[in-house]
Symmetry: C2
Subunit: 446 residues, 2 copies
């Protein structure tokens, strides 16, 4: 995996992230907490040394805590293992590791009892006594720990070492991201956490995004910037290909702002409109902003993406302001019946053609009586490819005009051969369409 980190700034304070749970270790569920916590810690100027996943074996947990300590971390953040069952034992192991005895917190026990009431009503058949006993367990915590208010039933903890400087401070958080994430701010605000990260440098973090060039080109550009005499040393630059776009993340200390600004100008000059985001905004945010700002409305007619573009457009709260509807026209019959594509056009050019993409876009605009119409038709594979029209070929059209059936005043129609498997082709096709929407609304036209 290529990674154009030119320089890696080093903060004095390092942290380790310890994700626990046999279901994560065995691949049954994917960890989302490690990456999320890593970004948060970096924003605080804390350098993450490692993310480690272990199962529910007490000795593996303890070994991981000890090895992270040996690697010199000042903070360890754990996720998971705070549930009511016997194999949820993170709190106890962390207590032992920090040299603190376990005590029942009666106020916390009462609080968890309150939280459980609605659940007991929702599942009247559940074994109440077993649930109550199990959840008393969740109120047994290391003495001297700061309690973080539960978002589900499990409280979080900030556990300092028994003697100041005797080891890292451990932040203990629950596994479900919906509980862990809102608890994080409380953890950061705690006195014990602030003491542990004292001295960390706060970094600025800026993101730019490019579309329509290979990732290797960015590495070339950075070499060019270096050769042109730009000061890159104070900048920690990471590049990454994400949903067909290149994301360039730069972290720097506040006094390197001028160096970052110079780099941004250099990249803007070299790559022009391919740098579509200077402020980190995503193409999804840009589509939403321009549709809302210009009071435009949008409708789509999609074939190979099968609903993914409509789903992406409606992912955002409030999208009903501008998304009127979509047609998933998987069959040729649906293309004609739903959005009025002339069957003779399909017969003449084939369902996967720029002509049909254009007819889908205009058809969507008319059908939904909207100002922006999008048409997508392609071959997602793995079957259905031919030498002339191989798997991965996708045709796009975005047309713009006054509401509904009037002729388009602007349009962009393209075909592209997208790499990857069926899922990748479908996902990338939605990204291409999103970019075409913004470009048409910014005034471009064929």
């Amino acid at each position: 995996m290529s990674d154009a980190a030119v320089f890696t700034g080093r903060a004095a304070v390092r942290a380790g992230i310890l994700v626990t749970g046999t279901e994560v270790l065995t691949g049954i569920i994917n960890d989302r907490n490690g990456p999320w916590l890593s970004e948060r810690l970096l924003d605080l100027g804390v350098d993450v040394a490692m993310i480690e996943v272990v199962g529910d074996r007490p000795e593996d947990l303890l070994t991981a805590l000890e090895q992270m300590t040996a690697a010199g971390v000042a903070v360890i953040v754990t996720s998971g293992g705070l549930g009511p069952t016997a194999d949820d034992l993170t709190a106890e192991i962390v207590g032992r590791f920090c040299g603190r005895e376990m005590v029942l917190d009666r106020a916390l026990e009462a609080r968890i009892g309150e939280i459980l009431k609605p659940a007991l009503q929702r599942w009247p058949d559940a074994d109440r006594e077993a649930l109550r006993a199990a959840n008393r367990k969740q109120a047994v915590i290391p003495s001297g720990a700061t309690v973080l208010a539960p978002r589900g039933t499990a409280p979080g903890l900030v556990v300092p070492p028994a003697a100041r400087g005797a080891g890292p401070t451990v932040v203990v958080l629950p596994g479900p991201p919906s509980e862990l994430q809102p608890m994080w701010e409380d953890a950061v605000a705690s006195e014990a956490f602030q003491a542990a990260i004292f001295g960390a440098t706060t970094y600025r973090r800026e993101v730019m995004r490019l579309f329509g060039l290979p990732e290797a080109e960015i590495a070339n550009t950075l070499r060019g910037a270096d050769a042109a005499g730009l000061r890159l040393a104070p900048l920690e630059i990471t590049t990454c290909l994400r949903r067909s776009e290149i994301e360039v993340v730069t972290r720097f200390e506040p006094d390197a702002q001028a160096d970052y600004d110079a780099l941004l100008s250099f990249i803007a000059e070299r790559h022009g409109e391919k740098l579509f985001s200077r402020d980190g905004s995503t193409i999804d945010e840009q589509v939403a902003a321009v549709l809302l700002g210009d009071h435009e409305t949008i409708g789509v007619a999609e074939s190979c993406t099968g609903g993914l573009l409509a789903a992406r457009l409606t992912e955002r709260p409030g999208s009903s302001e501008y998304v009127i509807g979509g047609a998933v026209v998987y069959s040729n019959w649906a293309k004609s019946d739903l959005v009025g594509v002339d069957p003779e056009l399909i017969a003449a050019h084939g369902a996967v053609s720029t002509e049909v993409a254009r007819a889908l876009a205009d058809g969507a605009r008319a059908r939904f009586d909207v100002s922006v119409g999008v048409g997508i038709t392609g071959i997602a594979g793995p079957g259905g490819g031919t030498p002339e029209k191989p798997v991965g070929l996708v045709c796009f059209s975005v047309t713009y005009g006054r509401q509904g059936a009037e002729p388009a005043v602007r349009s962009l129609t393209r075909s592209s051969r997208l790499p990857g498997d069926r899922a990748a082709v479908r996902d990338r096709a939605t990204t291409v369409a999103m970019h075409l929407v913004v470009r048409v609304l910014h005034g471009e036209s064929d």
Copy 2:
């Protein structure tokens, strides 16, 4: 996170997984390799002790290799850090760790040269000399390592310790999952790998899936099975909530098959039709199988899910056999205009109502001239909720009849209050709809 592992069988052979890359450690991209490798190793009877993510610092890589060795692993599998840039240094560090010098493999260099030719043609502006020099680096490998043929440009490696028994065997794989996964079988087949895992027990792995009950109920059921005298000790059982379904994964040695069969019968008896999959098949596979097997066709009209159900139905290759089309009817106007929902029905009951869901299902059936129609309408949030119709309320209908406009002969119409945020409500709604489709096609009706 609760985890009902009742018993954890221990194989003699343990492994560690080491994922490298600053872009993974800093949360810019999510690791998919750790969980995937973990499942593969478990299937080989190798017990994964930990998954660790570290950045591109040589000392952190080396420390992780040493600490895993100290934890007693016989095999370490690494992913990432095999690219052409200077910070890709996994091969070199592993060579040093295994006590093996680095040598240029000229045959491998030539092979990588061949692989690069098409890429050089595709991006004619790229700096050829820099690319060639960078990729020679990828052909420098530890002496005595087994080379795994590149799928991208990076070869994989199996590196045994310099002296037999002196440490773990290290399998070095590239970061992109599309390269790592096809390389895995070659790694497993290598003599060095087989020697390292010699003695591991091969497990069977069975999966059942349940829908429509809380996760805690499964823990109760397992306690009940234990109380009823079933032998659970030979079974390693893990339960997990995934997309609103409960997945129960059981691993066992082949001679415990009868114990697993008894458990399966016990769960089937206690939970009846809520156990929708005894063979690990997913609801998506079941929907596809029943539609294909019965030569049925399907069309959907969805509001709050905004295209996600159509996208899920068309995720599978060959789905054009039975998916005719979908309507994303985000506005009331689209509900009436596209699939013919009577505006007075919307006025009388509200857009989010079982009545409108039913009209959407029948409308989709008529509109797309299909035998199965699905309607979904709900409040995904975060806005739009009222005391009577709160955020998370979703109404579903699936109707079945002869093609098209004839009245339905069977139908299931439901409303449900789904937990979670906007994305969770939308995703869960598609799962509920998938289950209703299978139930209607299996003959159920209101």
